[in-house]
Subunit: 194 residues, 2 copies
């Protein structure tokens, strides 16, 4: 069905436009729809690639323009790769960084230094309407600290110590994080593809 974007945040107007355009065989999308149509899929896929593609393709199809999406997570060797694609909701359905960190630290309580290796993984998907989706993967190697430190960044940053660092990711400035992060690593592979 042909789509038209309606620049409104007014629910009443959005509803009327939808009804009126549907009669003309068209789908009217408000700005609220664009945000809401992005499924909360960060945890439901089996791979980072699957989740990233789903997000990028959903919005690219809605807007009919190229869209980039990221799926990322923390892969801990001593936990057989967990939390992995379940990183954002590891401790429960609500996304809760503090609870997720607490759960990981508890699961690793008996794991000694040297066996706490882990990596942040970021997969970028670039979806273009009617074309095959491209993927770019970036990683950042490191290990899990014994306690949280620092307040920058988000997610598991306060317990992740990057290779060749003593500070956690959350103790780095955003410039420092951006120079080594899994996300910047993945973006650097795009090489002008977006």
């Amino acid at each position: 069905m042909k789509k038209i974007i309606i620049a409104t945040k007014n629910q009443g107007k959005a509803k009327e436009f939808k009804e009126l355009y549907l009669k003309k065989g068209m789908e009217a999308l408000s700005l609220l729809d664009i945000v809401q149509e992005l499924p909360d899929v960060e945890e439901t896929g089996v791979t980072f690639e699957e989740n990233a593609a789903l997000k990028a393709e959903t919005i690219a199809e809605l807007l009919q323009i190229p869209v980039l999406a990221d799926d990322s997570g923390l892969v801990i060797d001593a936990l057989d790769g967990r939390p992995g694609v379940y990183s954002a909701r590891y401790a429960g359905e609500d996304k809760d960084d503090k609870a997720n960190i607490k759960k990981v630290l508890e699961e690793l309580i008996d794991v000694p230094e040297g066996k706490r290796t882990a990596r942040f993984v970021c997969v970028l998907a670039i979806a273009r309407p009617g074309e095959k989706t491209d993927f770019y993967k970036g990683t950042c190697e490191g290990s899990i600290a014994f306690e949280e430190r620092g307040s920058n960044g988000f997610g598991y940053d306060p317990i992740f110590i990057p290779e060749n660092e003593t500070r956690t990711m959350a103790e780095l400035s955003s410039e420092e994080k951006n120079s080594i992060s899994h996300r910047s690593n993945a973006i650097s592979k795009l090489q002008g593809r977006v």
Copy 2:
């Protein structure tokens, strides 16, 4: 600056993508930006056309796709055209349908039947990147009731009695409203232009 849409609602990720893309001379826009960048301009312009164009052009420029916006309001003859472009915030900065209706009823308290004529006006603007914006105007003639009635629709619908009706707009079904409304009237003029 070249733009890329990032399919995320995560503020932390959005911030990092912005920083990383800025270094590449590009602007990363998250879904949150798309909604937030729409200025709350419904009341600031002097004409419906000006407000509709501002909304449509802002989002069309952001997304680089054709976008439709609507600006609409209630024009009451006995109030010299007020609330007009100020309809949504007539009673104060917060959009409050109940307060707006109360203010209009109070201002018209001494105006007799027959002198309470009014019309709903809708101006649609269709903005296409790099092209001149088109406008389509629709109206719905009627009069202002002495008290509010009905719970359908939104805005001033409970006090607006369309021509050839005894019920208020808020007492009509959405099918009935859609067959006579200022908004449907304006959309019918598009004739396949979107």
